[in-house]
Symmetry: C2
Subunit: 942 residues, 2 copies
């Protein structure tokens, strides 16, 4: 049964407005808006989304009165245009478009030329003063209608079309003579009859009704439903249907069609930018068979039209308060605007346009902040391909592969197939692109010296992408079509090969890979100036502070230059990996467990003796004395302390540099976190070495080497873990070998004190990693405070003591932890790993990519925070932590800290700061401002 | 300033009662209770805990009136006993004891013989009619008072005492003649003067006051504070102080002292059980210098006293409604009861006593249920050492080590140092004890054939302990003093050595290890009968169901025999490990990834073609057809399906057996969970094999072997993961290779259907592991339902579909998951691993034991659920899951399911069931009942 509705079901364009998006759909509302403000839009009308809903609810029946209202509006159109729908002499022809409130894939395509029939086609030809375009319009209508409305396979038509051209030795559709088009029209009708069992209606009203029903029904096609489910768009919105008179740009030299931007989408410069094709329809522009002219030529060819276009463009830009991308057609000297929409633009253009629009008084400062994508910010700051050079390279067919943009920026350089080669070529003064199947920590020295990285595997969160983003270098990952042959030292794709040493170019924003050089341009002073203006505005709006993760003084300087207000994470283990330190680390690890056992034993006995009832005290004191003697004689203890002492010197130098670079700003230093085995060589090497040595004839030299290899193997095996991510790391080492943390704290406070005495203002903050139980903090804090107090020696500065929240249990017991900590910092990488039970290293290649592709996961939780799971823990920890300790400082220092969606979430949670790679600080500043202004929302849902 | 208090500060014993524990402390209240009900207690009085609190608050000053009240009560005691405190002729002598409401270590020891001074000692000697005991009492007073109150090192006295005996060639204190005692008294006084700087007071009132102050102050000694903090006991309770006249059992043949149990603590039999030592003080019994007589001998020696003792014992038992452990002294024919407390007992005795007390009308059924420790239940069910044989072995010094009881029960057998040897010896008909440093999955075949397991490393949750508990075999772990020498094939400790093949005995309840055989006794029919009675009562009270984890029909049968009401976890990967199946698994894994990729591709294309707009459909259909051809020709796909088919047959047989054994009860079958690499050999083997083969001269044979080894290595490497616990496992494999889960579901439903057709009632439940996102269930459920529906073929039984909750994110999004699942089962092992970020395998040895020992963790979270963290997730998941799906069945199937404290927690959460090892089902039944009765509480706090 048909569903009745109360209101008006059809609106003429001039009756609607941009505010009626929900009722008229986006296309309908914006066409109405243009009509309302006097832009020359072809006349037409819109069927409401409400009518569509009623149709679908009523079991696919038009609600009462709808058809009558449509017919009535067609008649009004006839009156307005002086033409008649279906009239043989003076036919009205229009387009039928679907248009929902939200743009969505899967909805029905436009049907053009509705109203052309056997009866009207000749009349149309007369109106057009040309038979060919009229017949072509008819051919297109049949093809389009049958494909879109009747579901006939388009290939059936395309093959006939190809044959028609081939038979006549023609290359392009528009070259087909009228006779050929007539034959095609007849053949197309046969196809429809054969494929659907019925001939196509010859009654234009019947075709119109069918088309409108198809528009309505397309709301519920499976692709649209899937999309809506995924995006959380309600299923009961329905789509509008826009009917608009056709205008023809192919009616002679006083006709034509064009597209333009109201400002340059490449640079943002305030000049009309676009193309015009005389005597052509929009499809011809799309087909690309004729080269359009630059819009400027219109000024010469049709100065009056140009003036109209320019005026209209400025009017639309002013009205919509943004750069517009406009489609227009000139029909026999009369301008029609077919569509206007917000113009896409490059990152530097986006920044310039936003800033210019403020200067022109069009936008407020806050609106301008919302007009730039956070991701644009990085692109402005990095080298990019010269647009002309890139277009050129594309035209020359030099694109050999396309991967995923892992880190923005562009670079050209010689290919190096391993990190050592990269270093060698870089030393020889070359720009190097490191090309690998994938990268691992073993490649880092090569990545550091390369200008860019290209890998055939991995995604946005692969090792290569993460490391290069941290370094601000371009990177393309997941270039699956690229075959990297390590043995032949070459990479091939699309039948082309780049050998090691040959030049290759990568665009880290788009994922494109080119053979040969593509010239790059550095950001201009102007670009940077505009950006700084914008970020300055952003800084005034944001409530979140932006800190940076920096392990070296150089990084700290860069972070500060980019506007960082503190160091949220200084990782100390990176310092341990330096070559001159590794021997001391290894000594520490080989002596540590035994030494620590001996030391702990003495400690425990002393404590027990102290607390024991008098009756047991004496014997405990004796035992203590014995343990103390053992301690004094232990070689392990001596080695342990010697290694600690040496490392303390290194660490104090490290911290001195960072604290100095961040003078007067807070610096959070995380105590040792990495699993211990990371500092040791691969076990396999020793096993094979032992195998090899055992085969050799015994000799003193062999035996020494064998003993040493066996000793090392034993050490590696002792530290080996089946799941190091969940193993003996972070504060767990801090509790079993507390001397390591004590050494680090001493080094931090000693460095800070020295600076303090030199008049440098220091704010060190000491952070404990991998905490899962409040007792870990309770155990460590007094020990470390005692060490710090001694190193401080009464100097007049303070430090903070805090904890990472990166283990689910830490978040779940945050109220307890907050009583023992002055700050929380979310280690969102680990927290995501533990909360999902995903090992990032394993998950990426084995199932995570599949999950994201199959939409099992709506987004990669390592790139943007999983709000429903990990985010829930963060919310709980923030709320309960602050409730227990109102002065608690809360921030985030995982990779997520530089992700705009995550920043929006952190803003919602009310964190104090986000900390990210120095290169992402400007991005984060903008994202934080947009979050505060409500312009940027977190990812939602589960 | 002294703190004033209102109430009475001192109570005579007959004024108090057992209800006044808080005010009088436990000792004071129970002594009062005895006095109140007419038990002959030595006269005395109690200083209240309130007085102690006032003393401590007031800066260690007696509150006004306290001292006067004490003096007054001493005078009352004098009146009652006809003696006078400090009187030379007829001195009153009493003891001073601390006694808080809760018993606690670190509190002050008892001071005996208060009132003996230079002035009174001779009078006492006359009262005793013997000089020696009077002098000895004085000597003990000085020594005790100085040690306890004045803090003098006891060793200073002990060395003098040793010297006095040595000088005279004596062995025992009581052999010292009066002259020697007088010399010692003088020497002791010198020690006090030297050590404290002051002579000991000779005024007994001054000594008394000092002693009482020491009692009060001991409330705040560091050990007591630490203990209270750990146990969550308030710091402001204070301790009481009990003052009681001394009675002397060493005043001749009509005196004596004894201890007794009102029933046998070994068997529970209702006979007096204890010892009596004529003419002796309690300390003499403790010192063990004279052998006491069995209590029965008292009947012969002092029939009247025996009758009094018996009557008093029965009276106390009836009064306290439980077996009492009583200390008494007979002073010159007069009986005094010094103390009564609940008697400790063995597990079988505990059960018998509880059941008997119900039969005797003393206890209600529910009270009896609360009187047995859940851990006792297992002990009743398992073999234990014959008490006499064990005592004998101890006396012979055959205990060679003591470890941690990892799994209860006792066993004797020949030592085997590796699992293969264990199998060999078992095949030769021997009882075997497997002795290892620690065990791993590679040892399982040996553990299965062994009678018990002994390891030198590991704790309650080590591999050996977990596996043996599951098998119901005794196990001793963490026997650190035991040196296991694998090369010499022997184990040594305490200077003794057991070689492989020699007999060794272990007690899994106590952790004791004996050389040679110790006879074991099986549980008697009587024991089992009493236990069944008790468990029957328990079953009526509990609300939680008790299910079992069983992977084989044998386990299922055992579970059912033990009272299991369902199978909460049937692990399917264990079935995969069988030797005849491994080749198929390996084929599956080598073909699977490639095959699955090909199959997924076809699927995706089909789906896309289906959903595509008409314009794209044709080309997608072409692509689909091409992919289908590739699939049809793929060798991987053929291998994959062949392996799946073979495995399906195996699985159907497995499931048939289990479902049959659990006829009419629910059986939850978990689909494949293990990381894939677990099914493959160790990578190292291949690497070494390849090294070896590459050194050989080339030959066809070598090349084939080399190629095969390289192929295998590649496969192992492809499946290798850096953190397998967080890797490609569980439903992640179910999504990337869905054919495996489909095969399993088909096998389950096929087996169930066959049984159904044979008339067996089946309730299969299919469980998905490692779910972290609702979309995993959304993706799998329709696929698996389709497979199940086909296999079901309309047969008239149903199955359930549910999910493990073992990943934190699953718990955090339980509301979503519950909409897609009919049941939740907490995988608390994994949930604990992820929530703490502890890899159980790594944590145990590396830091977890240290954490538990250092009390960083209040208990091992793998043994008993961590209520604050993991438990919080469980609560959240249960509440939000039930809110979203009120019919949701919720249970727990991790190791924790058999832990009483965890069961109490699960009861609080309102779970439907706990599932545990078949051997722990009776334990769980009792714990569930105690939880329902409020007798068992979960572990609390963080």
């Amino acid at each position: 049964m048909a569903t009745t509705i109360g209101g008006k079901m059809v609106y003429r364009l001039e009756e609607g407005s941009a505010k009626m998006v929900e009722l008229l759909g986006s296309k309908g509302a914006h066409a109405s808006e243009m009509a309302r403000i006097g832009i020359p839009v072809p006349p037409g009308f819109v069927i409401t989304t409400e009518a569509c809903r009623a149709y679908l609810k009523g079991g696919k029946q038009f609600p009462p009165g709808l058809w009558e209202s449509i017919v009535d509006n067609v008649h009004k159109l006839e009156a307005e245009t002086g033409k008649r729908f279906g009239d043989a002499g003076n036919p009205l022809v229009f387009s039928v478009r679907s248009g929902a409130a939200v743009s969505m894939p899967g909805m029905m395509d436009t049907i053009l030329n509705m109203g052309v029939t056997d009866v009207t086609v000749d009349g149309l030809a007369r109106l057009m003063a040309d038979e060919r375009p009229a017949l072509d319009a008819y051919r297109r209508l049949i093809q389009g209608f049958s494909g879109v409305v009747l579901g006939v396979d388009r290939e059936k038509f395309e093959s006939l079309l190809r044959k028609a051209k081939a038979d006549r030795g023609l290359q392009h559709d528009y070259q087909l003579p009228p006779a050929a088009l007539r034959e095609l029209i007849a053949a197309f009708k046969e196809v429809v009859k054969r494929e659907t069992g019925h001939p196509i209606f010859d009654d234009p009203w019947a075709l119109l009704r069918q088309a409108i029903e198809a528009v309505f029904s397309s709301w519920n096609n499976p692709r649209a439903i899937t999309y809506r489910e995924f995006q959380g768009i309600p299923h009961d919105m329905g789509t509008g249907c826009v009917i608009m008179s056709m205008v023809f740009g192919n009616l002679g030299e006083d006709s034509g069609t064009g597209v333009l931007f109201t400002r340059s989408p490449a640079t943002g410069e305030k000049v009309l930018y676009g193309e015009f094709l005389p005597n052509a329809q929009g499809e011809d522009v799309v087909a690309g068979v004729r080269t359009p002219l630059a819009i400027a030529s219109l000024k010469r060819e049709m100065p009056e039209i140009y003036a109209q276009v320019e005026e209209t463009a400025r009017k639309l830009e002013a009205h919509y308060r943004d750069v517009q991308d406009i489609e227009f057609t000139v029909e026999r000297g009369k301008l029609f605007i077919l569509q206007t929409r917000t113009g896409k633009r490059t990152a530097p253009a986006a920044v310039k346009i936003a800033v210019d629009l403020v200067r022109e008084g069009v936008l407020t400062v806050n609106e301008a902040v919302g007009r730039v994508q956070p991701s644009d910010v990085t692109q402005v700051l990095l080298p990019r391909f010269d647009p002309a050079a890139k277009a050129n390279a594309s035209d020359e067919g030099r694109i050999i592969a396309k991967g995923v943009g892992g880190s923005p920026g562009a670079a050209s350089g010689v290919a190096a197939m391993d990190p050592d080669k990269a270093v060698e070529l870089a030393n020889a003064g070359k720009n190097v692109i490191l090309v690998r199947a994938e990268t691992s920590p073993d490649d880092v020295h090569g990545i550091i010296r390369a200008a860019g990285v290209l890998t055939s595997r991995g995604g946005m969160t692969s090792h290569a992408a993460v490391v290069t983003r941290g370094l601000g270098k371009p990177c393309v990952v997941g270039t699956e079509e690229l075959h990297v042959d390590m043995e032949a030292r070459k990479a091939s794709a699309r039948g082309k090969t780049v050998k090691e040493g040959e030049v290759i170019s990568i665009d880290g924003a788009t994922g494109e890979v080119f053979i040969g050089e593509v010239r790059t341009v550095e950001p201009t002073a102007d670009d940077l100036g505009e950006l700084n203006t914008l970020l300055g505005w952003a800084d005034e709006q944001r409530r979140l502070q932006v800190w940076a993760n920096a392990d070296t003084p150089e990084d700290a300087v860069r972070a500060r230059q980019n506007g960082s207000e503190g160091i949220g994470l200084c990782r100390t283990e990176h310092m341990f990996f330096a070559e001159d330190r590794l021997p001391h680390i290894q000594k520490l690890l080989s002596a540590g467990p035994e030494a620590s056992r001996v030391i702990r034993e003495v400690e425990t006995l002393r404590l027990r003796a102290e607390k024991a009832p008098a009756s047991e005290r004496a014997s405990l004191q004796q035992k203590t004395a014995a343990a103390e003697r053992a301690l004094a004689q232990s070689q392990s203890v001596k080695d342990y302390y010697a290694a600690l002492e040496r490392l303390e010197q290194f660490q104090a130098e490290d911290f001195h540099g960072i604290l100095k670079a961040m003078e007067s700003l807070p610096v959070i230093i995380r105590l040792l976190d990495a699993p211990l085995h990371e500092f040791l060589p691969n076990k396999l090497n020793f096993i094979r070495e032992i195998d090899e040595l055992q085969r050799q004839r015994a000799s003193k030299q062999r035996d020494t080497a064998l003993a040493e290899a066996q000793r090392q193997l034993k050490l590696v095996e002792a530290l080996e873990e089946s799941n190091p991510m969940l193993g003996h790391r972070g504060c767990r080492v801090g509790l079993t070998m507390p001397e390591i943390y004590e050494m680090q704290v001493r080094a931090i406070i000693t460095a800070a004190r020295q600076l303090h005495e030199e008049g440098v203002v220091v704010h060190p903050e000491i952070m404990i990693p991998i905490v899962s139980h409040v007792n870990e903090l309770k155990w460590l804090r007094p020990r470390l405070d005692a060490v710090a107090a001694k190193a401080l020696g009464g100097a007049g500065f303070t430090y903070k003591f805090g904890t990472m929240i990166e283990v689910p249990r830490a978040a779940l017991t945050a109220g307890e932890l907050a009583k023992e900590a002055q700050f929380f910092s979310f280690g969102s990488n680990d927290l995501t790993q533990m909360t999902f039970a995903y090992s990032r290293d394993d998950a990426e290649g084995k199932f995570l990519r599949h999950y994201v592709e199959a939409e099992v996961l709506p987004w990669n939780p390592f790139a943007s925070i999983d709000t429903a799971g990990v985010g829930r823990l963060m919310r709980l920890a923030t709320e309960e932590g602050r409730a227990a300790n109102p002065g608690l400082e809360v921030g985030i220092c995982g990779e997520h800290g530089g992700d705009p969606k995550t920043i929006a979430f952190c803003h919602q949670l009310g964190l104090n700061y986000v900390s990210c790679s120095p290169f992402r600080v400007p991005v984060a500043r903008l994202a934080a401002a947009q979050s505060a202004l409500g312009q940027l929302k977190p990812n939602g849902g589960a």
